[in-house]
């Protein structure tokens, strides 16, 4: 344990040096700057607090479609020019849409920040969505859906499971949107989304890298600061009613192997100083699958050999509610039902006997090290800041995250397993593989004994 303390202290010293600036412009736009002078580069990200969870039925996927349209020109920057100018300046750029947010980024040499900010500020206010370009781009998005979801059986399982586990909360809807909604989407839907959410008072600029914070803030004032704030629509909580019993679905899709996902409703981090459950759930996920011989791997994959893969996951940071999730693929000749029983036995073991101090220390050592490793990636540092802030958490919650995780006790981990991994909160999805190619009449299915 002594060595862990040493690391922890080094880390605190490190974060004290890492200057973080967090200011809000007069128009309500937030600006966060993380200085890091290791390399002469920077990353600039604009985060909008508008994601799939803010959509309505009938236009699911519009947040992501708008993300695509943001590259299609403004009143002064013709279609395609945004990407072209960033590329000419040596930049890499892209965007991503999640349930909670839509974000746009540029990675460039440090002295190109002004170009990135001018272009971002311009498309925050002056986007032009033409019917013609929309008609092309919606086809691209449907191809994206086919590529990432429809032709990926495990993605289909995940999509349908979310639609089952949540009945009221908008997390039930896929980020990319239901195909029928995409087919019926219009340019006007995208325009309305843009008018509704794209405003400086719904955005956060995160810049990390070899920059001076005061210069970044001054630049932000000159570019984004000139845009007027707008009244944002009221957001309804749409809280998920308490689940009243286990739910199960079967997904049939062309595949060779079955697949199992189990997911329990769980809280996310809201009051980062007082909450304890989210930190304990994070440690629990680490105990279950944080290394190649954590509980699930050791028991299910290595010892019982009932699974070829098994892992647990939990994300504490989100605008909405959370899930503790376990997924696994059964080994050849093992049934999904037997695999589920084996997973349940592992959970019961933790609920009954708790976890060892060695397991707890191991997960904490990994958390501490991972926090140091993250400093090797500017992009990831900026990502984390954006995610925390968009979820309504202060940067301090991120800075103090390691301390909070180190304070978790074995008893707390056992307690959250008992309280949250309950059947009443559980939804289960099973992939039932369908043949990839039609079988000739009379032929035996591979792997199945043919009895006449």
């Amino acid at each position: 344990m002594r060595s862990l303390w040493a690391i922890g202290l080094a880390l605190l010293a490190g974060s004290a040096q890492a200057a973080l600036t967090d200011v809000t412009l007069d128009n309500g736009m937030r600006v966060i700057v993380q200085e890091d002078h290791r390399a002469p580069v920077m990353v600039s990200q604009v985060w909008y607090r508008a994601g799939a969870m803010d959509e309505f039925n009938g236009t699911t996927g519009v947040a992501h479609v708008l993300e695509h349209m943001m590259f299609k020109g403004t009143q002064t920057v013709p279609p395609g020019e945004f990407s072209k100018r960033i590329a000419a300046a040596g930049g890499r750029e892209n965007a991503f849409t999640s349930r909670d947010h839509t974000a746009y980024f540029q990675q460039m040499q440090k002295d190109r920040l002004e170009l990135a900010m001018q272009l971002e500020a311009d498309r925050m206010a002056n986007l032009v969505i033409s019917d013609e370009l929309f008609a092309k781009e919606i086809q691209v998005v449907m191809e994206e859906r086919r590529l990432r979801t429809d032709d990926q059986p495990q993605s289909v399982v995940y999509e349908r499971l979310m639609a089952t586990a949540y009945q009221a909360h908008p997390y039930r809807r896929p980020i990319i949107g239901w195909m029928d909604d995409l087919k019926n989407m219009t340019a006007q839907d995208a325009r309305e989304w843009y008018a509704r959410w794209y405003a400086p008072n719904n955005a956060t600029l995160v810049v990390a890298g070899d920059v001076k914070a005061d210069e970044v803030v001054a630049l932000a004032k000159r570019t984004f600061g000139a845009l007027p704030a707008r009244t944002l629509p009221t957001r309804k909580p749409q809280d998920e009613p308490a689940q009243v019993g286990e739910k199960r679905i079967v997904v049939k899709a062309p595949a060779q192997l079955p697949y199992l996902v189990m997911t329990w409703h769980a809280p996310t981090l809201k009051d980062w100083e007082k909450d304890t459950t989210p930190y304990a759930l994070q440690i629990l996920a680490g105990v279950m699958s944080g290394n190649d011989s954590a509980r699930l791997q050791k028991s299910l994959v290595k010892t019982q050999q009932i699974a070829v893969n098994a892992s647990a996951g939990y994300d504490a940071v989100a605008r909405g509610p959370g899930m503790f999730m376990i997924d696994a693929t059964p080994a050849a000749g093992k049934s999904v039902a037997a695999l589920e029983q084996a997973i349940r036995a592992e959970i019961s073991r933790i609920q009954r006997d708790g976890i060892s101090e060695a397991e707890l220390a191991r997960v904490k050592a990994q958390v501490i090290a991972a926090d140091v490793y993250q400093r090797d990636s500017l992009f990831y540092q900026a990502m984390q800041l954006g995610e925390y802030v968009t979820a309504g958490l202060p940067p301090e919650a991120l800075m103090r995250r390691v301390d909070k995780l180190r304070a978790v006790t074995a008893k707390e981990v056992q307690a959250v397993a008992q309280q949250w991994l309950q059947n009443e909160r559980l939804s289960v999805a099973e992939l039932e593989p369908q043949a990839l190619t039609p079988q000739p009449r009379g032929a035996a299915l591979p792997g199945v004994r043919h009895v006449n």
Binding site: S3, A87, R146, A253, S293, V308, D376
Partner: protein, 441 residues
């Protein structure tokens, strides 16, 4: 869970340095030496973060599978950390995790490697290095673990059969490389994997994971003296087998058209030819030219023609994958079944025109400004630098590879691109693979 606008289909080799007199563009001080046992070492010292990254690579990728044993290289690699020097798989995983170290593997047709990331504080680093040395030098290949890992490898292969992209990629390499060792898939074939024996794994390990074959790349928070000690320690316990022989030269593939039925909603279309090896003198003209054709993301002709103008696909790209021997040139897209032929025609026409006419001066200028202006992003983290060190070491690139990169990009002109493409890619002699729909051929 988030959606990216662009697939991570292949790295868009984009980025790099302006011709500005940037002091920040100070060259990386790359150091190089050989250990007493003959391992090649390539090292950059950096004290900015308390981290040490090491990779150890061997020419032990799937191209080294003996005839009739596809999967031997992959299975050998997978077993390295699953029991070594008398420690069980679990003991190894726990000792690494106990100090927050991350051990991972890299594997492709050319290379099999092990990568370690650890904190540079003494106790943590010492325990992590001890595990790395053990895994490299004393894998036990326990019989029950072999049986288990065979089943897991086979399951992974089976699972991937549902993915039309993977099916297409496998068929592409088969069509392109015929009987060459690059033809078969990196993971091998289930039936052959079933038959592999412990003796075969041990023999493959001894022949390929030797000091003479090893390339050790190190980046981070240690002194040169300590780096030398680490390299000696890692190579000392490796086998004394001689360097592996060269791979055979691939023959140019005849043109072919493979259609594979698949219950997907999209067709995955791949078109290509054998492209270039790592040491190809035309590396830069091909690399820079390909930015214009299909490597530059939204800045490329393929993306413009296939995606922006017609909405045919989410991703449309081309790349050269330089390997020890001539690696592939590949162009790819995915589109709904009914417009497969139209999309394929657009891609073919784009390629044909590019080969006939080359890039315009304006396009080439744009490509060069992106690549040179973005150079600093290629080396802005320890991880990225380690990858370059390992590449330079494994493929025996000149030590000033990164120092001269920008100049070499800038030296490319339209004529060089045209010449280099025309020499390698004959638009009438291409391998085409389409996976999806019901029409098998």
């Amino acid at each position: 869970m988030s959606i990216k606008r662009l697939g991570s289909v292949k790295p868009f080799l984009a980025v790099l340095l302006l011709a500005l007199p940037l002091s920040a563009q100070a060259a990386l001080a790359i150091q190089h030496w050989e250990t007493a046992q003959g391992a090649r070492v390539i090292f950059v010292e950096s004290r900015a973060l308390p981290i040490l990254d090491i990779s150890v690579d061997f020419p032990a990728g799937s191209a080294r599978d003996p005839a009739g044993k596809p999967g031997l290289a992959q299975l050998t690699h997978a077993l390295l950390d699953q029991g070594a020097g008398g420690l069980s798989d679990t003991a190894i995983a726990h000792r690494l995790a106990d100090v927050g170290a991350v051990l991972s593997g890299t594997f492709d047709r050319d290379r099999a490697g092990v990568t370690l990331r650890t904190l540079s504080s003494t106790a943590e680093k010492e325990q992590a290095l001890e595990m790395l040395a053990r895994v490299l030098q004393q894998p036990d290949f326990p019989q029950p673990v072999i049986k288990r890992e065979k089943q897991r490898l086979i399951a992974a292969i089976r699972e991937a059969e549902a993915d039309p992209g993977t099916v297409a990629d496998k068929a592409f390499y088969r069509a392109l490389y015929g009987t060459h060792p690059y033809a078969h898939d990196e993971s091998g074939e289930p039936a052959a994997i079933e038959r592999l024996t412990r003796g075969e794994l041990q023999a493959f390990y001894r022949t390929h994971y030797s000091a003479a074959n090893a390339v050790i790349a190190m980046m981070g928070d240690v002194t040169r003296a300590e780096a030398e000690a680490i390299a000696s320690r890692l190579s000392a316990g490796l086998s004394k087998a001689a360097a592996v022989p060269d791979l055979p030269k691939p023959a140019p593939a005849a043109d072919s058209d493979t259609r594979i039925r698949h219950p997907s909603t999209q067709s995955h279309v791949l078109v290509g030819a054998v492209g270039m090896a790592r040491n190809d003198p035309d590396f830069f003209p091909l690399f820079v030219g390909n930015y214009v054709l299909g490597g530059g993301g939204f800045d490329s002709r393929l993306m413009r023609e296939v995606r922006d103008k017609r909405g045919y696909a989410y991703s449309a790209y081309s790349y050269f994958l330089p390997m020890t021997e001539v690696g592939p040139f590949q162009l790819g897209l995915q589109t709904k079944l009914e417009q497969t032929d139209d999309a394929l025609k657009v891609a073919q026409a784009t390629l044909r025109q590019f080969i006939a006419e080359g890039p315009s001066e304006a396009e080439l200028t744009q490509a060069k400004s992106n690549l040179t202006g973005g150079f600093p992003l290629r080396i802005d983290s320890n991880k990225k630098i380690l990858d370059y060190l390992s590449l330079i070491g494994f493929y025996k690139l000149p030590l000033d590879y990164l120092d001269t990169w920008v100049d070499k990009v800038n030296a490319v002109d339209v004529a060089a691109v045209k010449r280099a493409f025309a020499r390698r890619i004959d638009p009438d002699r291409l391998v085409t693979v389409v996976v999806g729909g019901g029409s098998a051929r």
